[in-house]
């Protein structure tokens, strides 16, 4: 079942030139895409490819100038739908420091739930559940300022989760984190997808993060240029490079070894497993 449907969606930005004229910069250009219930979808693209613009179309933060976007059958262009749409599409952004609204973590997580009108005691239960789901329950009474970037992003995810959305959109939520923080956020996203069947849309340009997804969408200059499973996408090395992206190093090596005549699995992402294959061939 499709949860989110984009049909020929276009969104451009207005540019005010020095000479007083106006022009447009492409955000998202004529994109048609279905987000299927329960899938882990990863959206990749170079800086400025339109990934984040597309993310903002998914819950009506932006309304397409041409075409349409609908969530659970509700059109995002109709303002009356927006409350219901945003309850169902939770979003976490890039900068962990910009998303904290309260000085105590459980209050921060409660902010969204309170706004959708959930009464006590369910409010408290949801906050507890959300914090448990991201593994941060022991921090409930603490202040967010002393957390690491990865922990802050997990709190932001908990805040979105407590509203019990159907879809969680992570808009470059790992971009500003160190490797440890990135791992934390990714494993939480994977867990939510597997354990609760939550639909996850992950937006990133770390190609290693693509590996765990069901489906990958590649964007370039506002358009979708490829869709497929991670291994289908990785086999298009040239296409990715033209789009400003790169295949993870291990997969690149595996592919090049195969091209040189070694009988190895070409989409091996684990460097040790690739080493083992070579050892057996020697």
């Amino acid at each position: 079942m499709d949860i989110i449907k984009l049909v020929n969606a276009t969104y451009n930005y207005k540019v005010f030139n020095d000479d007083g004229t106006q022009s447009f910069a492409v955000g998202v250009d004529d994109v048609t895409l279905d987000v299927v219930q329960g899938e882990f979808l990863t959206l990749v693209g170079h800086n400025g490819s339109g990934k984040s613009t597309l993310a903002k179309l998914l819950n009506g933060l932006f309304v397409p100038q041409k075409g349409s976007v609908s969530v659970l059958g509700m059109d995002t262009a109709n303002e009356k739908n927006l409350f219901e749409i945003r309850k169902n599409v939770g979003m976490v952004f890039q900068n962990p420091d910009n998303q904290m609204v309260a000085s105590i973590i459980e209050e921060d997580v409660a902010f969204g739930v309170e706004n959708v009108g959930i009464p006590h005691p369910e409010l408290g239960e949801r906050v507890r559940w959300a914090l448990e789901s991201v593994g941060m329950e022991q921090f409930a009474k603490k202040t967010p300022h002393k957390l690491s970037g990865g922990q802050k992003q997990r709190i932001a995810i908990a805040g979105a989760l407590a509203i019990k959305p159907q879809v969680l959109v992570l808009d470059e939520s790992t971009a500003m984190l160190d490797p440890q923080g990135r791992k934390e956020v990714l494993s939480v996203a994977k867990k939510l997808n597997e354990d609760f069947g939550m639909t996850v849309v992950l937006i990133t340009h770390f190609m290693e993060e693509v590996l765990q997804s069901d489906r990958v969408v590649v964007m370039q200059r506002g358009k979708i240029i490829a869709t497929g499973t991670p291994s289908e996408i990785f086999s298009e090395r040239q296409l990715l490079e033209n789009a400003g992206l790169k295949v993870p190093r291990t997969i690149e090596l595996a592919q090049k070894l195969k091209e040189s005549g070694w009988q190895v699995e070409e989409n091996t992402a684990d460097a040790k497993a690739l080493g083992e294959m070579i050892c057996q061939l020697l």
Partner: protein, 286 residues
């Protein structure tokens, strides 16, 4: 032009309940023209250390001598130190402020008191050095440029001061793979062709492995390893224990070496490893 660090210690908020020891007996020497990476976990003291190098943080105890200037001396020539050591912070594009690229890049040299003729030459050279076309960008607002271009303008602003040492704090954070590659190629070029000493803080071990010729690992304010990329990442278990990543190509080579496959030293990039593996069977056909 060398940097000599002896018994450097630093404590934040000394003699208060918030006292935190950030550097602990750091001893090292960085020679002219080196490409050094500093790695370590968040909070390991990397930033505190590099901020000492151009006296943004003053020496509390121990000594730090940059090109013969003793930074422990309260009256040392700060202007001189800061023109020798250029500092590029994280997300440097956030520091762009002027109306045009030319004005932004000339801010540093102007403050250093260069003459207008000198400034014009430095600014143009710096912008071209970072791979931007001077005529196209000089009158553009830096805010109209793409993410990677903005970062290069910010870098040009530091390079225009012609530093002998370039300190970069996570220069590729937030960029897409091609943007990353562009910045690293530029830094490498500065190091190899202009002889600029590069000190780069990074979390990306793959990037460090392929570019740096020396890696300093910091943990809890102390230097725990100071060695070549090959020797460092051969210690796979220790690296993992410190919660750092082992570069993919190092993992691959370590596995082969552990299983008695002989590989030449210094193969670090995908293509170098590929060539080495292909050479094992004396040709490309197996």
């Amino acid at each position: 032009m060398s940097i000599v660090v002896k018994d450097l210690n630093y404590v934040y908020n000394p003699k208060s309940p918030f006292e935190t020891r950030a550097l602990h007996n750091v001893n090292l020497t960085i020679e002219d023209g080196e490409f050094v990476a500093i790695v370590g976990h968040t909070g390991s003291g990397k930033s505190t250390f590099v901020q000492h190098l151009n006296a943004l943080i003053r020496v509390q105890s121990g000594s730090l001598v940059v090109n013969g200037i003793n930074l422990h001396d309260k009256k040392c020539d700060l202007k001189k130190v800061r023109s020798l050591v250029g500092m590029v912070f994280q997300y440097p594009e956030n520091q762009l402020f002027a109306d045009t690229v030319a004005q932004d890049v000339e801010f540093g040299p102007k403050n250093m008191g260069m003459s207008q003729e000198e400034i014009d030459v430095c600014v143009k050279n710096a912008v071209e050095l970072v791979g931007l076309d001077w005529e196209t960008v000089k009158n553009k607002s830096p805010f109209e440029l793409s993410g990677g271009e903005k970062r290069r303008v910010a870098l040009a602003g530091v390079l225009a001061m012609q530093p002998k040492v370039l300190v970069l704090d996570e220069p590729t954070a937030g960029l897409d793979p091609v943007g990353k590659h562009e910045i690293l190629t530029l830094v490498k070029k500065l190091n190899e062709e202009q002889g600029v000493t590069v000190i780069m803080v990074s979390h990306d071990m793959n990037e460090v492995y392929e570019n740096a010729r020396r890696i300093i690992v910091m943990k809890d304010g102390a230097v725990v390893y100071d060695t070549t990329p090959e020797d460092l990442f051969a210690l796979e278990d220790e690296i993992v224990k410190m919660n750092l990543e082992v570069p993919y190509m190092a993992q691959f080579c370590n596995y082969l070496r552990k299983h008695h496959v002989k590989l030449p030293k210094g193969v670090r990039t995908v293509d170098e490893v590929l060539k080495a593996v292909n050479a094992l069977k004396g040709g490309s056909n197996v």
